[in-house]
Amino acid sequence: MKQLPIVIGSLNIGFLQTLKLFFVTLIGSFPLGLIIAFGSMSRFAPVKYISKLFVWIIRGTPLMLQMMIIYYFPGLVLHNNIWGSGEMGRFLAASVSFIINYSCYFSEIYRGGIQSIPIGQEEAGLVLGMTKSQIFFKVTLLQMIKRIVPPISNEIITLVKDTSLARIIALQEIIWAGQSFLKGSHGISGAIWPLFFTMIYYLVFSGILTVLLGKLEKKLNYFR
């Protein structure tokens, strides 16, 4: 029973790292995704095709692989470990990988959202003398948000679990913390139950997010 507080303490520290990666990824990839979305809809062909190629590569290969390349490539091939050493370096590399990866997924969702707004909405705004930016902010943006909330919610829930992939570059997130008691840590070894405990963290966190995102979706139900 003396083991419990020790394990909980470790898991808490790990989960904090999980949460940090989760929020940093969202904060970075929401806007970057929009930029990539505009890129892939650009009327300038080179920008459009480069954006599409980039999205294809990122979405077509595993995030785990991307993370390994981003983390090890600079040090091993360029002989310049730009990430620095230690947990901070691993966190930076993981964040960059996650942001790039999730931006590409979000960009496709944004693009779908933007393109699903009937052209008549913009035209109605134009004939009423609105500027393009007024039309975007006052007319199309909210309709777009309404349409992208459900698919974005799915991605967000997936991200909760995907953060554990950072284990591959030894980021000390919650799975890493739970697994340490298998090998031995704080005088505890061969214990698998801490891993079961990590499940509770994931379930509670994704449960809370599901409820909140469901509320947001409902809130936007006042129009069609």
Partner: protein
């Protein structure tokens, strides 16, 4: 002086000529109906007048002011065009109401955004917004929608939506209000209520251009009728002349489909 003069308007999409040298004038307070078979260019003409499409050639004059001249690059700038659009209003076949706003908010929105540019907006904000609201409510009452003002578009019937759309266009007090088949998306029993408000507007001397397939309505409401075919204005005249004594063989053919 005519309120609207359209001279030599031509428009192509890729390689197909859709409008071929369109000419007509419209007097203040009068109603012009445009009839013609599908694909003859009626919608494209209205879209050119509202600057949703740019004519390849021609001149558009309102109140003797040249709004568009294909020869004069100064009239082709985007910022200029936005102001000039306000001379025209456009009511779409599919309403295009903004779904996230109530009927009243739909009518007020554009006016509120324009008011922000007024120099006195900061000091008289409250009064200005109040005026806009009162005018919008008045318009909706005029459209018979006094009890629907706080409903969202999805809570309204097609006929009600179209009347909100008409109020929304009228809110900016355009010189010329254009309708593109305003009742084509409606069930037959809802057509009447929309035609009734358009008729009422004509009695209040609202200058209007109406593209329609409702021939008896066109005959009843118009001062002038244009028959378009394959991008040309084939015939133009008083409704009695076009409907009862068409000079052109194509006009006669077209109208015969409606007389059966």
């Amino acid at each position: 002086m005519s309120i609207l003069e359209v001279k030599n308007i031509s428009k192509s999409f890729e390689n197909t000529k859709v409008l071929k040298d369109i000419n007509f004038t419209l007097e203040k307070g009068e109603v012009l109906s445009i009839i013609g078979s599908s694909g003859s260019g009626k919608t494209t003409l209205l879209r050119c007048l509202n600057f949703l499409e740019r004519p390849d050639r021609g001149i558009i004059k309102v109140n003797d002011e040249i709004l568009f001249n294909s020869e004069d690059p100064n009239t082709l700038k985007e910022a200029e065009i936005r102001k000039k659009r306000l001379h025209f209003g456009l009511v779409f076949q599919s309403f295009n109401l903004f779904p996230q706003y109530t009927a009243l908010e739909n009518v007020m929105l554009a006016k509120q955004l324009l008011a922000k540019q007024l120099p006195e907006y900061k000091t008289d904000k409250k009064d200005i917004l109040n005026d806009i609201k009162n005018q919008a409510e008045e318009l909706l009452i005029q459209m018979g929608l006094h009890d629907r003002m706080s409903n969202y578009p999805h809570q309204l019937s097609g006929g009600q939506c179209q009347r909100v759309a008409i109020a929304r266009a009228l809110a900016l007090k355009p010189d010329i209000l254009c309708f593109d088949e305003p009742t084509s998306a409606l069930d037959p029993e809802l057509t009447g209520e929309v035609l009734k408000v358009i008729k009422k507007l004509s009695e209040q001397n609202t200058t209007m251009i109406i593209v329609t397939h409702e021939m008896s309505f066109a005959k009843d409401v118009s001062n002038q009728v244009i028959f378009m075919d394959d991008g040309y204005v084939l015939e133009c005249g008083k409704p009695s002349q076009i409907f009862d004594n068409p000079a052109n063989e194509r006009t006669r053919q077209f109208l015969s489909h409606y007389n059966q």
